[in-house]
């Protein structure tokens, strides 16, 4: 028995080492493909300009886009646009998530609340947040308030649906097990329900951040003085192709970075979960 376990332990350590090596190689490989895929896009971009597949006037060279970025960084306007967009998303996102978590618990916990709110939630969930922008501008003017309200709305509903469905789908077995050990309601909530919800709350954050960001750009395209969307509208008005393309790239890159950040957090706090892969 003892000898068998010892042997098992060595093989386990070895396979652990092999796994780590394999993971490292996979990460490197992924990074390679990541660079290659964007490299190909940039190459096609420059090539199609060079052979006049596209009108070079309507399609700025990569270098010019970079230069406009550096110039705007120099005079501080790029930072101002980016931080304006960021702040809106952060405030709207956090307000929406907090409200969604609180209300999600109420709906998940109380059957009456669920029956009452379910139809309404489905209606509002189906309603694209952008559809609210004209109304909000009339209500709150074209200042920050109308945008933050729309963004709060945008992050609230998808998060709410994820959280309360997670609550409804919880396995009652763990609650039974905890009750049999003497847990009271508060302890069940804190020590059994909450830990199981953490992964779902993170999923909710991912979905909400995506929706928020998409809504933000739309809102800024319609009415804003500052923000990446506003920067793009200005560029469009003055027929400046470089800042316009720069805006598109920034929006994509920031969205990707934010999602990556949430996934990084997810990996750190939900290591206990069984992964299907």
């Amino acid at each position: 028995m003892m000898a068998r376990r010892e042997k098992g332990a060595t093989t386990q350590a070895e396979s652990e080492l092999r796994n780590r090596e394999k993971r490292r190689r996979e990460r490197l490989q992924r990074l390679g493909y990541f660079c290659a895929s964007f490299g190909i896009i940039l190459a096609v971009w420059e090539l199609s300009r060079a052979v006049h597949v596209v009108n070079p006037k309507l399609f700025p060279p990569i270098l010019e886009v970079l230069q406009s970025g550096v110039r705007m960084l120099g005079d501080g306007s790029l930072q101002a646009h980016m931080s304006a967009s960021f702040m809106r998303v952060l405030v709207g996102f956090f307000q929406g998530i907090v409200m969604a978590v609180v209300l999600g618990f109420l709906i998940g916990w109380f059957r009456v609340a669920r029956m009452l709110l379910d139809p309404v939630i489905n209606f509002f969930r189906a309603l694209p947040p952008i559809a609210l922008i004209p109304l909000m501008i009339i209500f709150f003017g074209i200042g920050e308030t109308s945008k933050v309200v729309v963004l709060t709305y945008a992050s609230f509903f998808p998060a709410l649906v994820v959280i309360y469905q997670a609550l409804v789908g919880l396995d009652p077995l763990y609650i039974r097990a905890a009750r049999a050990l003497g847990a009271n309601n508060l302890e069940i909530f804190r020590k059994v329900i909450l830990p199981q919800l953490v992964p779902h709350i993170i999923t909710a954050c991912r979905v909400s951040l995506g929706v928020c960001w998409a809504t933000l750009v739309a809102a800024e395209l319609i009415a804003a003085q500052k923000g990446i969307g506003a920067m793009m509208v200005d560029a469009q008005n003055f027929f400046q192709m470089a800042p316009l393309v720069l805006g598109i790239i920034l929006i994509g890159a920031i969205s990707l970075a934010m999602d990556g950040f949430v996934r990084w957090i997810e990996r750190r706090v939900t290591g206990w979960q069984e992964k299907l892969a």
Partner: protein, 263 residues
Amino acid sequence: MQKGIVVDDVSMTYEGVAGRVEALRDISLCVAPGEFISFIGPSGCGKTTLMNIIAGFLEPTSGQVLIDDRRVMGPGPDRGVVFQQYAVFPWLTVRENVEFGLTLSANRKSASERKEIVDRLIDLVGLRDFQNAYPKELSGGMKQRVAIARAYAVDPEVLLMDEPFGALDAQTRQFMQEALLQILERERKTVVFITHGVEEAAFLSSRVVVMATRPGRIRKEIPIPLDYPRDPAIRRSPHFIEIRAEIERHVREEFEKQREGAL
């Protein structure tokens, strides 16, 4: 005062979509402290319902269950439950799982007491090398040992086990049966054990209760006249095989009756 478990004329009727289902009718029995009692019978004989009533998860339609003369009003730490699906908390490590009950206000212990109890129980179930592992890294048998240690931690009078080894392969199952007897040898509890396995019931129990179906009733109580500790080799002894055959005969008759009823 009557020590142990008293099941006093318990009946249970469900109001289902398909009408009334009489799951249990007039169940009465006593389980003495330290006894190992198994309930065996075809599916639908209400053995899990009975366990859920003793655990306090269900309230009987009539009758009552007493533990050391106290009436069962709901689940509590005096009755440890081990489920077939393990129910080990996947977000906690082995150690944290075993410690869980001790962190609750119902049986709060100081950090040093907790450490002592958890260390002792992790050794008792032989999971020292895995104490910091998460359940996803464990085999089914190991998960069930975590569940047993977790139930032991709050020092219950009674251990209620609902087909605890039902999901394990045949070898692990035998190994776990022997491990359970060893654990009980070192720290005795009253055990109520639900099973489908005739051999399992015979090997583990001091008494086997064969249940009849629809409504669930006690058909036959069979005392197992074998001394503890029981050696695994006992499974091959003529006496054991005889006992096993007797249980088998009652279970089989019930099964046939149920099948005739269905036809």
